[in-house]
């Protein structure tokens, strides 16, 4: 067993950390406050080469391994959840299914522009009536001559309505067989007539990330926009979510790491009763517990990445990582606020943002309950 990062992975970690500290940290609080999506930061993240990290070079990507990508998400999330969300959703939900299931023409047409920071692609699965139970979808795709006609709506779609959104991979019902819905995945470009993307406002967390409601009103796209084959929708969705779980886990890990560092620094600085509050055993032990949880979370997540990179089954470990990393993000951020006392409740302190941002992680891309369901099935319950 070798627990060391390669020289290259270590350099990626340091590089992304430098970038996050220099470019994101100074503006994160303000963007959160204003609930503003930053085109400038998205552009810079593109220039750094974080979009399409795992995509082969011929499509404009970097051809790096999963672990390098996960480290990048972790390092961005260590500083800001919103930017990590833009990055993780675009890579894991936008680019990845196009790369895995797209035809050569589709890949050449869409992928290069999605690696630069000039364009984002979203993944439209969730609907008002279909959250955890994606089979509850109502959006339909019907063949009409050489076109698909799409009707329905999607909700909570990350990167769906930014000005630079180029399109969405839409999960739709294309028919029925033996009383069961047939799911098919179709690519819809942003400027297609009948397609409307409306930003969702009033989020408690990820306030600087773009979240959209999508509406499809007789949206007509050519039959070539089919991703994979007819009826392959569920498989595409499940496989995409397996990969997506790793990046949500990375967000949990990064969030926990960031909150822990803030708490440790504060505890060493803040004096009460004549000494730093970190010298009171209860706080010292809290910090020890945080550090232990983070270490466990990192080991589990990196192992899941290792499995994926070595082409071994990783679905169970991905669900475990997503569950554990997001749950400890909650615990760590909560105690980090506690250590900050009243200041931890004020917006001037970054820990307040971490406390809010972690809350999505136990809900998005499969709730903690659903992760437990996935794991319990895999272990033979």
């Amino acid at each position: 067993m070798n627990f060391e990062l390669t020289e290259e992975q270590q350099l990626i970690k340091e590089t992304v950390r430098d970038f996050a500290e220099r470019e994101i940290k100074p503006v994160a609080q303000e963007l959160d406050e204003k609930a503003e999506f930053s085109y400038e930061l998205t552009q810079k993240i593109g220039e750094l080469g974080l979009f399409g990290m795992c995509l082969p070079e011929q499509y404009g990507g970097q051809g790096l391994d999963t672990l390098s990508y996960i480290i990048a998400v972790e390092e961005i999330a260590r500083v800001d959840g919103s930017q990590a969300a833009t990055l993780a959703a675009h890579n894991s939900l936008g680019i990845s299914p196009l790369c895995e299931f797209g035809s050569e023409e589709q890949k050449m047409k869409y992928l290069p522009q999605l690696c630069t920071g000039d364009g984002l692609w979203s993944f439209g699965l969730t609907e008002p009536g279909a959250g955890s139970d994606s089979r509850g979808s109502k959006t339909t795709a019907v063949m009409d001559g050489d076109d698909w006609i799409i009707n329905g709506s999607k909700i909570f779609i990350t990167n769906g309505s930014a000005d630079i959104a180029k399109g969405c991979t839409v999960q739709a019902i294309s028919g029925e067989k033996d009383g069961k819905k047939i799911f098919t995945t179709i690519l819809v470009e942003q400027d297609t007539p009948g397609f409307k993307a409306v930003p969702m406002h009033g989020k408690m967390m990820w306030r600087a990330s773009d979240t959209a409601e999508l509406f499809f009103d007789d949206v007509r796209v050519p039959k070539e926009n089919l991703l994979g084959s007819i009826g392959e929708g569920s498989k595409i969705m499940l496989q995409t979510l397996d990969g997506g779980r790793l990046s949500i886990a990375a967000m949990g890990l990064g969030c926990a790491q960031g909150a822990f560092e803030l708490a440790l620094a504060y505890a060493n600085e803040r004096k009460q009763f004549g000494k730093p509050i970190s010298k009171f055993q209860i706080n010292a032990f809290k910090l020890a517990d945080m550090a232990t949880k983070i270490e466990l979370a990192r080991n589990l997540l990196y192992k899941a990445c290792w499995l994926k990179d070595n082409k071994k089954p990783y679905s169970k470990e991905a669900a475990m990582s997503k569950l554990y990393c997001s749950e400890i993000a909650k615990e760590v951020a909560d105690e980090a606020v506690q250590i900050h006392g009243g200041y931890g409740l004020m917006k001037d302190y970054d820990v307040e943002r971490f406390y809010r941002d972690q809350r999505l992680l136990q809900i998005g891309e499969g709730t903690s309950e659903i992760q437990r369901l996935v794991i319990s099935r895999q272990i033979g319950c």
Binding site: I12, R22, G49, G63, L64
Partner: protein, 245 residues
């Protein structure tokens, strides 16, 4: 123009400094190593000049053991074309300059940081210029290349000079040489993998200095608070205790 940038491998600037062996050696355990910040600025300027077309190639060089290769690899990721590591411990400025002199003869321009952030010796650049008999200017805060000539800004007390200098030359650079050190892009990190990192054997050079022991600077004195009502006391303290007025 062929440029050589000297790269010193130093502890991260936030490292908690500790010593071992009864304060005779720096404790390297758990230390994260980085490119000396001034060298990083020099390298960034070299990359900018290469992008502008006035530099043909950038080599980075370090005197150090295998442990420093990660730092050289980063320099390659930032944009150097190749790297040289002289395979010996870097204990003393004169020894380092002597090792570098053996590999630096063929470059038109050598960029050195004004000092290294570990021991702040501020000696290697000047010594190297002397050993090579190259022109040199220190405290360079601006660098342009015009044909075979260098235009350098040198900071002096209360102002700055613009100097013109012929090559081969050593420019010993400081803050201002570029805006910010460049962060390597993922593409650069990938390409660094394939760039040559040549390890060369050291020439004979004796250390002229050695460490006897280390001492940490005294802890910062506690901040004295003075009540609003006693504003006059601050004058007395500044006068008699701090002796600044």
């Amino acid at each position: 123009m062929k440029v050589l940038v000297l790269i010193s491998n130093v502890p991260d600037t936030t490292t908690k400094i500790r010593f071992t062996g009864d304060n005779t050696a720096f404790d390297e355990s758990g230390v994260q190593w980085i490119i000396n910040p001034w060298d990083e600025l020099a390298l960034t300027r070299a990359v900018e000049l290469k992008e502008a077309g006035s530099v043909q190639s950038i080599t980075v060089a370090n005197v150090g053991t295998k442990a420093t290769e990660a730092t050289l690899r980063k320099a390659l990721a930032v944009g150097a074309d190749d790297a040289i590591r002289v395979d010996t411990e870097a204990n003393d400025a004169f020894a380092v300059a002597t090792q570098l002199a053996a590999i630096a003869k063929d470059y038109d321009l050598i960029l050195a940081g004004i000092e290294a952030s570990d021991y702040n010796g501020a000696a290697v650049g000047g010594m190297l210029a002397e050993l090579l008999d190259f022109n040199s200017v220190s405290a360079v805060s601006g660098l342009q290349i015009e044909g075979d000539t260098l235009q350098v800004n040198r900071d002096i007390d209360g102002g700055s000079q613009l100097l013109s200098m012929s090559t081969p030359a050593v420019a010993i650079v400081q803050k201002g040489i570029t805006k910010e050190p460049r962060i390597p892009a993922m593409r650069g990190i990938m390409m660094a993998r394939k760039k040559p990192l040549n390890v060369v054997a050291p020439v004979g050079a004796d250390d002229r200095t050695s460490f006897v022991n280390f001492e940490l600077p005294p802890a910062k004195a506690a901040c004295k608070m003075i009540d609003e009502e006693n504003a006059k006391e601050i004058i007395t303290l500044l006068h008699e205790e701090a002796k600044v007025i």
